[in-house]
């Protein structure tokens, strides 16, 4: 009889310990055998959640990259508009000296355009394709020194987003594109070739401007996608958090109730044991 009483007491005490452990650690699963399925779920959720964090980092980086691209393209548009203005003025009542002065300004504009095309995000040149460690344009020539590679960011599981625009497609490489048109404009201004400015250079600038405007809208669309991905990601992170808590966290209210009922039954068992083992026939024999 005493053996069974003792075993019961030990049993209740052990159950109490389990509840107490869960209360203290705040988690329902401290080793795989507590709940094998739950434990592997927790690992999976942990995996997904670190991935979401990682995607978050990729998105933040993409966001910065794109806003840097946006402001550079914006600045290129301003510069091109200024060049167009100068070209238009050159068609009016100005003399050769004025045009030569304008040519000076256009040369400055060319340097600024290159400067914008050499913009960096962190220490990476954003318009250089994947050759991001070197500036795509140098002052000694108009060639494009980058490559045509794509810079991509994984913004979700298996979803790649191409976030770069190459300088070549934006302002050309000196043989065609905006940079070439600006060089032509400068040369024509210096040569006082008004006709050429009107028939070639100004339409060329319009084309260049259109390229820039379409690049700007592309960047805008990409920024939108990144933003949407960020919203989706934060809701994913929230639901992962929820799932993790549902699977692994201890339910304090329930544990508190269990704890109380178990400790009550432990006390009852102890009391009973004390009473049962107290009296024998010997107490009544004289």
């Amino acid at each position: 009889m005493s053996e069974i009483t003792l075993a019961d007491i030990n049993n209740t005490r052990q159950q109490l310990e389990t509840v107490q452990e869960q209360l203290a650690s705040g988690s329902r699963i401290s080793k795989p055998s507590d709940d094998p399925y739950g434990a592997s779920m927790l690992l999976q959720i942990g995996d997904s959640s670190t991935r979401a964090d990682e995607s978050g980092r990729a998105l933040t980086d993409a966001e910065g990259w794109l806003s840097q691209t946006d402001s550079s393209v914006q600045s290129l548009i301003d510069l091109t508009n200024r060049a167009k203005e100068l070209g238009q003025q050159a068609l009016g009542a100005v003399d050769a000296t004025d045009r030569a002065n304008m040519a000076q300004e256009v040369d400055q504009l060319i340097e600024s355009v290159k400067g914008d095309a050499n913009q960096t995000w962190g220490d990476r040149y954003i318009f250089a394709g994947t050759n991001t460690s070197k500036p795509p344009y140098v002052s000694t020539d108009d060639l494009y020194h980058g490559d045509t590679g794509n810079v991509t960011r994984e913004i979700g599981k298996g979803v790649q987003l191409n976030i770069n625009i190459t300088g070549q497609s934006l302002i050309g490489d000196g043989t065609s594109g905006l940079l070439k048109t600006l060089r032509d404009l400068s040369a024509d201004l210096k040569a006082n070739n008004v006709n050429n400015i009107e028939t070639n250079d100004l339409p060329g600038l319009t084309t260049g401007l259109n390229t820039l405007l379409s690049a700007e809208s592309t960047v805008g669309a990409l920024q939108n996608r990144v933003q949407i991905a960020q919203t989706r990601l934060s809701s994913l992170q929230l639901s992962l958090q929820q799932a993790k808590s549902d699977t692994g966290d201890a339910d304090y209210a329930q544990l508190a109730v269990t704890f109380n009922s178990r400790s009550a039954s432990l006390q009852a068992a102890l009391q009973a044991a004390a009473n049962i083992n107290q009296s024998t026939l010997m107490d009544y024999l004289k």
Partner: protein, 451 residues
Amino acid sequence: MGSTFGILQLALKSLQSQQAALETTGHNIANANSAGYTRQSVLLDATPSDDVAARGRLAGPGMYGSGVQVQAYQRIRDAFTDTQWRQQTARQGQYQSASDVLSQIESGVNEPSDSGLSTQLDSFFNAWQDVSIDPENTAARQSLTEGAASMAAIFHDTRASLTDLATNLGTQQTGDINTINTIATQIAALNTSIKNATVAGLQPNDLLDSRDNLLDQLATYGDYTISTDSLGQDTVTLAGKNIVDPTVAGGTTPLAASDITASLPTTGKLRSTYDMINTTIPGYVSDLDTIAGALITSVNAVQTAGFDLNGTAGVAFFTGTDASNINVSAALLGNPDLVAASSSATAAGNGDNALAAADLRDQALIGSSTISGSYQSFISDLGVQSQNAQHQLANAQSLVQNLSARRQEVSGVSLDEEMTNMLQYQHAYSAAARVLSTMNTMLDDLINTVA
């Protein structure tokens, strides 16, 4: 009618018998708390009638009694319960050992936690993605190689905790076998004493208790069979070997580790230890090796297809072949620029190859599961196995408890009962003494009056 003094003899026999019964009660009370003690009771029996005994025929109105004698000192024990108790104790020993070992493995793998292998695998692939975002960044590369090195260390630790456990279990098995052989030697010695007592016509109750006690101790190690010969000597067969055998010199044939392999016990600690050493632990080790192996092969394949920061073709990322020897190649640890993040020799900003390495986490590299998936099912397997052992243990424990209680009911000493018996024998003794004194008075009367 018997002789005049016959009644004195009768009273004497009564006094002796009641005293013997009282002694046995005292013995029971004294051993109320002795482990393995079996309650004894005195079987009292009326002695044959004097008529029949002395004259071989009936006389007068019929037989008259000639008193009492102790026929036997009985040992109150139920052999069937013993067998059941020993079988369940073997099961309990098996699952106790299994659940102990499995819970040690569980604490060795340390999951779920923030420092287990699962988290390290996640961080490893994340680090690749970091490198893919910013391939020129040496810090990102550095944290990839350092993180991979610490992941490799955890692979080593986890595997070592498994193999160490197997080694320790081997030592434990040797210890268990020694204990078994010691018990067998003691049983053999008791066999001899029991035989001597039996030959002398004695009932060796306390020797039988000691032997049953030893057999109980043996039960936790494995299931065995007992056969008893006409002289009361037991032959105990464990793992196909007669570890106690009265027919051989010394009475035992010692158990060796090879016997267990040759004829595996069905249950018991020996069985569990054997299974752990030969099946369970090697299984987990091989799971871990498969995961590490797949990681090494796949990451190296991606690496050697790419180009490092200097535009040189990539070198293997990991050295080694399994969880015991997986290591980040020393060259990469020294110079993280050698991590082949690019898929092109000329483009520093190209992180495609790093991304390809990061994407390995989604590929079915081990059968139809991913690396993390495979590790998760490893953990889940371990959990299920450990949980199962715990359930079986709880089950066996409660059965053993019930059987112990039943054994106690049959063989245990109940003080209340002994006290009652004591009163009974005491009063019987007093009454017998009263018969003697009455007879004494009668004889006194007779002798004095007649004289």
